[in-house]
Symmetry: C2
Subunit: 320 residues, 2 copies
DNA sequence: TCTCATTGTGCAAACGGTTGCGTTAAGGTG
DNA sequence: CACCTTAACGCAACCGTTTGCACAATGAGA
């Protein structure tokens, strides 16, 4: 049915090994033979079978990418960049989604392990211990999680969170809330560590929360009750949900409460109010993660973040 | 290094074929032996090598999913559902992105063809002829494209577009524009065919346009100059860009011009104005596409769409 | 007691490539 | 002219599984 290396060999009267070499080690075969083989291969529509190849070489030419939630707009740009980077180096990319479930995350890594050369694990929810164990079975790089001995690319969300809080203090806010993310999120912990104890700021932590719009809506009541004038949300989805929830309760944003998101992931600039947020270089992260994997480098890369001030923040009520 | 079927066989004193059968045909092996083998496999952490398996069976256990643009919010829910459906049937999913480039689309199909059992091709930009040729090489199912002989799942965008236009006429609009999509988009053609010649409506077609926010912004000038009071845009991204572009020109939405999008893909409900749009069952489409593929059924499935009226549409100026 | 199924396993040949090694012929050197 | 090197290619084993077939053991029926 499918055309194999043998068909090509037969078609131009050479041995299969010669055909194999024209593809995997072209310099080892005579120029004239090579063109003949290539012509025959083209003619027959030959495409090497990667499964067969991987059997002897031990390399599959595939990578895996695992994210917490494909529907979270934070991830698609990362996936897109990762896919482009992979394809640019002749790798194919498996993509999967854990639905924020650590057990599923582990299963996926294991399921992928035999058919990929490496895995990009984004925003893992697994414990460090579990991750360490998995790292022995299959090379991977972590995105938005630090773990010693494992290549990592993280975005400097701590810096972003601090900048966001400084923006709030600069506007005159003193009592603020941090609406944190899900348990198991390293990013959420980073943000918390970064902002607790910042001078001139009294911070209430609310959470853990689902990293979704619903999570934000659900957190609105506690935020409204907390007597704060500013909020930093775990991500843009939560921020948006929070704004919705607050406005349902008659709390105006940014009139009564200022809200800052994280990720700058919301499509379209037509929000009301336009969201002040911490921009994350997600595409860079995706690209770098697969580069690290392919070149099997072990590095800890930190990507910069920056605050984008839009309209969801303002001075607290009563100030000029 | 990796633990193979031979290790397991040796560990419990049976032949490799017995081990193989305990996994692929459990009923053929004695219950006691089976438990012994399973125990040893578990103990050693054995995972069958899919590449090796696919070599003899001819099936890979992988599927491919190709979309026009991963960053277009229309696709992630579809991908998420497709991935979940695939995983539920023990398939793994390659995901790739053509960046709206037909040549890349073809290359991807060919590149995938040897290592997947089938491909889901979403919103293809290839010609029918090219698609027909590819369909001979590898089974696939088309999403949002009709092609005789090829299994298909389409969303009834024609109906959605007509409903949208009826909504506009119901509000009193007479002169409207259709801001169409990219060349090669079947959906765009469907929309156009559906709305041209609708009674009581004079429709200007503007396009082709890139299916992005930028495309919408770029189309704003022509829309503003067309003397229309209502617009149906190719998708939500275009609609949003269009609204931005119009407002930059001092044209208010929906005050001066009503705008309807398609897809209902925009995250968050905080837009100003909230977008009236045609909702598409993208998740259903993703799930059904992989089901069709896995069960290798050849069907033409049509999914319903419906109009979601929000705030970007209103009666034309001068009417009560 | 002698077939004859039936059940559970082992054996070995594939599947489509890769790769170390052996062979051949051509060219270079003394 | 004998020898050695080198380039180009053929040969065959191997990668990890599956699967048709052969074989042995068991139990049932005659």
């Amino acid at each position: 049915m499918a055309v194999t290396i043998r068909d090509v060999a037969h078609a131009c009267g050479v041995h299969v090994s010669t055909v194999s070499r024209t593809f995997s080690a072209p310099h080892m075969v005579n120029a004239e033979t090579r063109t003949r083989v290539l012509a025959a291969a083209e003619e027959l529509g030959y495409r090497p079978n990667r499964a067969a190849r991987s059997l002897t070489t031990g390399r599959t030419g595939n990578l895996g990418l695992i994210v917490a939630d494909l529907a979270n707009p934070f991830f698609p740009p990362l996936i897109k960049a990762a896919q482009a980077a992979a394809r640019g180096q002749d790798y194919h990319l498996f993509v999967a989604d854990t639905d924020e479930d650590p057990a599923e995350e582990q299963d996926l890594v294991l399921a992928f392990s035999k058919q990929v050369d490496g895995i990009v694990l984004c925003s893992p929810r697994l414990s460090n211990k579990a991750l360490g164990k998995l790292a022995e079975a299959i090379p991977f790089v972590l995105v938005n999680r630090r773990l010693r001995g494992v290549p990592t690319v993280v975005m400097d969300v701590a810096h972003g969170a601090r900048t966001a809080m400084e923006h709030l203090t600069g506007l005159g806010h003193r009592r603020v809330a941090l609406v944190s993310g899900p348990a198991g999120s390293w990013t959420s912990g980073e943000i918390r560590r970064a902002v607790t104890g910042m001078p001139g700021l009294e911070t209430t932590v609310i959470g853990p929360n689902a990293p979704t719009e619903k999570g934000g809506i659900a957190a609105a009541e506690q935020v409204a009750a907390a007597g704060v004038t500013g909020v930093l949300a775990y991500n843009d989805l939560v921020a948006i949900g929070l704004i919705e929830g607050l406005e349902e309760r008659g709390v105006r944003v940014p009139g009564d409460v200022s809200v800052i998101g994280i990720d700058d992931s919301i499509t379209g600039r037509l929000h009301r109010p336009k969201l002040t947020t911490v921009a994350m270089p997600t595409a860079d992260a995706g690209r770098m993660a697969v580069d690290l994997l392919v070149k099997s480098m072990s590095a800890a890369t930190v990507l910069e973040t920056h605050l984008v001030v839009r309209e969801s923040t303002a001075p607290p009520k009563g100030l000029p």
